[in-house]
C-alpha cells in the first residue's frame, strides 16, 4: 500500500497538470475576488473565510476525476483490483494521495492568500486547523464521486454535480470555524463537527467507493 501511495504521488507530481492546477486555481480565485468585490479591507476580511473555503473546495473538485480515470483508461485499475490488497484499501490510498497533492498544499498556501484577502489576525490558526481537518473529507467524498463516474467518458461535469451537494456540510462547518475564530467566539462545535465528518467519510466511504468500482469493472 505504501508502494502504491509513493507511485501515485510520483505520477501526480511528475505528469504535471493536476498537481499545480489546483493550487493555481486557488490563487486565481483569491486574487480575482478583490477585483470583483472592491478593495475595502473590512468587507474582504468579513468574506475571506467563505472565499478561502469555497476556493479550496473548487480547487479540490478540479482534480477529482484524475483519481481513478487515468488508471481506468490504461488498465492499471484492473490490475490493482486483482492485486492482493483489498479494493477498500486502494480507495483509501487513492484518496490520501489526492489529499497530499491537493488538500495539503492548499492548506499550506491558504495563510498567504488569507493575507491577500486581509483575513483578521485571530483567524489564521483556525484557517489552517479547519482546512487541515476538513480537506481530507473533500478528498474522500471526491474519491467516492470519482468511483461512481469512472466508467463514463467525460464524466467531469456529472462528477461535479454528484459531489456538490455532498460537500455542503463540510463547507458549512469549515467556513463557520474560521468565521467564529475571526470574531473571537468559541470554535469548538464546528471544529468537532468537521472532524466528525472527516472521520466518518474516512471510515465509510471507501467501502461505498470500492463497491462502485467493482460494479464499474464488471
Amino acid at each position: 500500500m505504501i508502494a502504491l501511495l509513493i507511485r501515485d504521488l510520483r505520477l501526480a507530481i511528475r505528469t504535471g497538470g493536476g498537481f499545480g492546477l489546483g493550487l493555481a486555481f486557488f490563487l486565481i480565485i483569491a486574487v480575482l475576488v478583490p477585483f470583483g468585490v472592491g478593495p475595502d479591507s473590512a468587507i474582504l476580511g468579513r468574506i475571506a473565510p467563505g472565499i478561502l473555503w469555497v476556493g479550496a473546495l473548487l480547487s479540490c473538485l478540479l482534480s477529482l476525476d484524475r483519481i481513478f480515470a487515468l488508471d481506468f483508461e490504461d488498465g492499471s485499475l484492473d490490475l490493482l483490483a486483482t492485486a492482493p490488497i483489498p479494493l477498500e484499501g486502494l480507495v483509501g490510498v487513492k484518496a490520501i494521495s489526492h489529499w497530499l497533492t491537493t488538500g495539503l498544499p492548499l492548506t499550506l498556501a491558504a495563510p498567504v492568500l488569507g493575507l491577500l484577502l486581509s483575513l483578521p489576525e485571530e483567524a489564521y490558526l483556525w484557517l489552517i486547523a479547519s482546512l487541515l481537518i476538513g480537506t481530507p473529507a473533500l478528498s474522500f467524498i471526491g474519491a467516492f464521486g470519482a468511483s461512481l463516474t469512472v466508467g463514463i467518458k467525460r464524466g467531469g461535469l456529472l462528477l461535479s454535480l454528484l459531489v456538490l451537494p455532498l460537500y455542503v456540510p463540510t463547507l458549512i462547518f469549515g467556513a463557520e470555524t474560521i468565521r467564529r475564530g475571526a470574531e473571537g467566539l468559541s470554535t469548538t462545535t464546528p471544529l468537532i463537527m468537521l472532524g466528525a465528518i472527516t472521520l466518518g467519510t474516512l471510515a465509510v466511504l471507501p467501502f461505498a467507493a470500492a463497491a462502485a468500482i467493482r460494479v464499474n469493472l464488471r
Partner: protein
C-alpha cells in the same frame, strides 16, 4: 402468496394495469375535492388574505418531495439486497417526480414568500435544504442517464442514493447550525395540541392524501413505461443478434 411475487415484471404489469384506472379515478376525486374545498370553501386568513390558499399545493408537494427520496432509498436497498429489477425501476421512475415536487414546493414557496416575507428567496434552513434536495435528485437522474448498461446504472445509482441519504440528513443539521429560520414550524402534526385551524386542516389533509395517490399513480405509470422500454431494448438487441 407473498409480496415479493410482484417483483416478477409480468405479475407487476398485470396488477398495475388492473389497479391504474381505479387509482387514477380515486386520485382525481380526492385531489379535486381537496383543491376545490381548499380554494373556494375556506375563509381567507385574517392576515394573509387569500395567499394562504397556496398551502394546499405547497405543503403536499413538499411532503411528497421528501418522501419520494425515502421511497427511492427503500427500493434501492431492495434492489441491492434482493436484485428485483422492478424495484430499482420504480426508484428510477420516482426520481423525476420527486424533482418536480421539489420544484413545485420551491416555486409555490417563493410566490407565497414574496407578499408575506417581502422576498422571493431567503437562505432559510428549510429553503436551503430543499435546494440541496433538488441537487440530489438532479445528480441521481443525471447518473442514470449517463450510464448505458442498465444493471451497472442500477447498482451505481442505488449506492449514490444510500450515501446521498446520509448526506442529506447531515446537510439538514449543518444548515440548521448555519442559519436560523424565517420559515414557520410544521403546520400539521399528529401529536400537538395547536395546529393550523381545522377549517384549513381538513382540506389540507385531503390534499396531502390526494398528492400521495397522485404520486403512487405516477410512479406505477412510469415504472410500467420503464419496464416496457427495457423490453423494447431487449427485443432490439435480440433482433441485432439474429
Amino acid at each position: 402468496m407473498s409480496f415479493w411475487e410482484y417483483a416478477n415484471p409480468k405479475r407487476f404489469m398485470a396488477l398495475s394495469s388492473a389497479a391504474l384506472p381505479w387509482l387514477t379515478g380515486l386520485t382525481a376525486l380526492v385531489l379535486g375535492v381537496g383543491l376545490i374545498w381548499g380554494f373556494f370553501f375556506t375563509p381567507d386568513d385574517f392576515r394573509q388574505g387569500s395567499t394562504v390558499k397556496i398551502i394546499y399545493i405547497h405543503v403536499p408537494s413538499a411532503f411528497i418531495a421528501i418522501n419520494a427520496w425515502l421511497m427511492m432509498l427503500v427500493t434501492s436497498l431492495v434492489w441491492l439486497i434482493r436484485r428485483h429489477h422492478v424495484s430499482v425501476l420504480a426508484a428510477r421512475a420516482a426520481a423525476p417526480i420527486g424533482l418536480a415536487m421539489t420544484a413545485i414546493g420551491l416555486i409555490t414557496g417563493a410566490v407565497w414568500g414574496q407578499p408575506m416575507w417581502g422576498t422571493w428567496w431567503e437562505w432559510d434552513p428549510r429553503l436551503t435544504s430543499f435546494l440541496i434536495l433538488g441537487l440530489f435528485y438532479l445528480g441521481y437522474i443525471a447518473l442514470w442517464e449517463a450510464i448505458d448498461d442498465a444493471d451497472t446504472a442500477a447498482d451505481l445509482t442505488s449506492v449514490l442514493c444510500i450515501v446521498g441519504s446520509v448526506f442529506a440528513v447531515l446537510s439538514r443539521y449543518a444548515i440548521l447550525f448555519w442559519n436560523q429560520g424565517l420559515h414557520q414550524g410544521a403546520s400539521l402534526s399528529m401529536d400537538r395540541e395547536e395546529n393550523v385551524h381545522d377549517v384549513f386542516a381538513y382540506p389540507l389533509w385531503t390534499c396531502i392524501i390526494g398528492f400521495v395517490l397522485l404520486f403512487i399513480t405516477l410512479v406505477l405509470l412510469r415504472t410500467r413505461t420503464e419496464i416496457r422500454a427495457r423490453r423494447v431494448k431487449a427485443l432490439i438487441s435480440r433482433e441485432r443478434m439474429a
